[in-house]
């Protein structure tokens, strides 16, 4: 149970980081933390205590395996997260070239 709770804490840390930090790079790190928290939670959903790897071989009964599907899905989610992080980081670099700062309170050409 405490594992799930810690996972929630990690998610909230990421959310806090996105909402409260002023530095673009710190916001990107916050997004990465949120993604990790969700991915971790997804793997935990498929995990079972003292389970074994989900490999079926002759002579073994299918008991006490961890669920392999979330692991496969999390791989996809990690790749998506990588793409998003790379894109946002490159946008942040271009923002820095234009504005000369990473501080979001100073990047304010759009009104409202």
């Amino acid at each position: 149970m405490s594992v799930y709770f810690l996972c929630l804490v990690l998610f909230c840390v990421g959310l806090y980081c996105v909402l409260r930090k002023r530095n673009l790079i710190k916001i990107i790190i916050g997004i990465a933390i949120i993604e990790y928290a969700v991915n971790l939670f997804f793997v935990l959903v498929g995990y079972r205590m003292n389970g074994r790897a989900p490999i079926d071989s002759p002579g073994q009964s299918i008991v006490n395996m961890v669920d392999p599907l979330p692991q496969a899905l999390v791989l996809t989610a990690i790749v998506i997260g990588l793409a998003v992080t790379a894109l946002i980081a490159s946008i942040a670099m271009r923002v820095y070239e234009k504005y000369g700062t990473f501080d979001i309170t100073k990047i304010r050409k759009l009104k409202g």
Binding site: F11, L15, V18, L24, I27, I31, I34, E35, V38, F41, F42, V45, L69, P70, L73, T76, A77, I80, A83, V84, L87, I88, I91, A92, R94, V95, K98, Y99, I107, K109, L110, G112
Partner: protein
């Protein structure tokens, strides 16, 4: 036959995006022709699919031949057909428009590559029958739209794109979290199977948490009011064809369609969720239009109106009466037509005069008759002036509110419509009527392809009301409404269609 067409909606744009990135730089004009042909094929196939659907009924395509609860499936039912036609026809016209408009930018082939990726993501969201696949396609469409907002690499675009990307990613994380909870509850990812499992379990309390996560996630993608902050920045900063695409179809597919599919077909709606949807819809409707009143930047004004019009759609669907759903879906279609047209008009004005500020325009009617007349048609459509399509859908939504005894919502809908009218009178008065300004004397009408798209969309605005006549209604709007109304029967319908 429909079995074979179904995967093409993803394969065609994905393959042509790939070819574009490979050859677009080397061969001049290649990317224009390729994306024009690809989106034309998509539009043709979607209309053909709508005809085939009359005979075949619901079709399930099994990816790789695996039987659905185990394998991935693509499902085509009435709502899918409806959305596919909307998305692909608009995408074709916007692609045609971009041929001339995007000449102002370098690396046009990159634009087409991202544009086609976005189209494949949208089509994927629409035809996917698997909830994780829906998430993946949603991310494809969203990531390419983040990149497209920043395509001009100007200050505003980059800033808006960063804001949009951060908020969009957080929303996607909420959606993924909701999917995780649903998976742990039902041990399946197929939407039909999930719906069947949920019916078997009654209504567990965790579904409420999942609903809240999905409302946050999809609500942000659809720009409903408490989650709307990214839209007025992101839509005006993008190049005009992309603004049209984002406002016209992206927020509807990623937001409204996904929300309707998951809430109505998978989770099953409860009165609480419908109430939340109606309140969010009414709030977006009024707040959006009030914020739009004070804007002088033409595209920003249009972006605020997108929020307001999305409110109408959500309000109509949230009523969950047959009339309300027809009104909501019809307004979704109409809004994608006239809002794309308005954004293309603003792009044409910017192309010809170099400004989007209404105070610096004036009298463009003399110089740009096509743009001025099409924008007049679109303005009258969006404000609900009788012969045009916007009038019919708004009328149905307001009638549905009254029929369902929600008089307060009906009042707000009428009020928002009046405010919309006044706001668009401002656009017409300052933009196209009045004295021609001195410095606008040299302005010329835009090139052929841009005119072609705008005129076609204006014709759609004019004849859109005919979709309510019996012939079109029973094949197009009614089948979409039936899917939404049938709710969790989705499961048995889809499993019945697997052969």
């Amino acid at each position: 036959m429909l079995h074979n067409i179904l995967p093409l909606f993803i394969v065609i744009p994905l393959a042509s995006a790939f070819l574009n990135s490979l050859l677009g730089k080397r061969i001049r004009g290649f990317s224009d022709i390729l994306s024009g042909v690809a989106t034309f094929l998509l539009a043709g196939f979607s209309i053909w699919a709508a005809f085939l659907f009359r005979e075949s009924g619901v079709v399930v395509y099994k990816v790789g031949g695996w039987i659905p609860p185990i394998g991935i499936s693509m499902v085509m039912d009435g709502l899918t057909v409806f959305m596919l036609v909307t998305v692909n026809v608009i995408a074709f016209l916007i692609s045609i428009y971009s041929i001339d408009y995007m000449e102002r930018y370098t690396d046009k082939w990159n634009f087409y590559c991202l544009f086609l990726l976005m189209v494949s993501g949208l089509n994927g969201v629409i035809i996917s029958g698997d909830i994780f696949n829906l998430y993946v396609f949603l991310e494809i469409a969203a990531i390419s739209s983040y990149a497209l907002v920043a395509f001009g690499v100007e200050d505003e675009g980059l800033e808006a794109s960063f804001k949009y990307a951060v908020m969009g990613t957080v929303a996607s994380s909420f959606i993924l979290l909701g999917i995780v909870f649903l998976y742990s509850l039902t041990s399946t990812l197929n939407m039909a199977d999930m719906s069947r499992e949920l019916i078997g379990k009654g209504h567990p309390h965790i579904v409420l948490l999942v609903s809240a996560l999905f409302i946050m996630g999809f609500g942000l993608k659809a720009a409903l009011v408490p989650f709307h902050a990214w839209l007025p920045d992101a839509h005006p900063s993008a190049p005009a064809p992309i603004s049209a695409m984002l406002s016209g179809v992206l927020i509807k597919t990623l937001g409204i369609y996904a929300m309707v599919r998951i809430f109505f077909s998978v989770l099953g709606v409860t009165p609480q969720i419908l109430n939340v949807l109606m309140v969010l819809g009414a709030l977006s409707m009024v707040v959006g239009v009030c914020l739009a009143l004070g804007q002088w930047d033409m595209k920003r004004l249009l972006a605020y109106h997108s929020i307001s019009q999305i409110g109408y759609v959500v309000l109509g669907i949230g009523l969950a009466t047959p009339l309300g759903i027809i009104g909501g879906l019809f307004h979704l279609l109409n809004h994608s037509v006239f809002k794309s047209l308005l954004f293309l008009n603003s792009g044409a004005v910017e192309y010809a005069t170099g400004t989007r500020d209404l105070e610096k325009m004036g009298g463009l009617r003399e110089r740009m008759p096509v743009t001025a007349n099409t924008s007049l048609v679109a303005s009258m459509s969006i404000s609900g002036v009788p012969p045009f399509n916007g009038f019919w859908s708004k009328l149905i939504i307001i009638a549905a509110c009254i029929q369902a005894q929600h008089f307060v919502y009906a009042f707000w809908a009428v009020l928002a419509s009046i405010l919309t009218l006044s706001s668009f009178m401002k656009v017409q008065r300052y933009g196209f009527f009045g004295e021609l300004k001195e410095r606008l004397n040299q302005v010329k009408e835009v090139p052929f392809f841009m005119k072609f798209s705008m005129i076609t969309l204006a014709v759609f605005c004019l004849v859109g009301g005919f979709l309510l006549t019996y012939v079109f209604y029973s094949d197009f709007l009614k089948v979409a409404k039936d899917v939404v109304m049938s709710g969790q029967d989705y499961a048995s319908i889809v499993f019945g269609a697997i052969r």
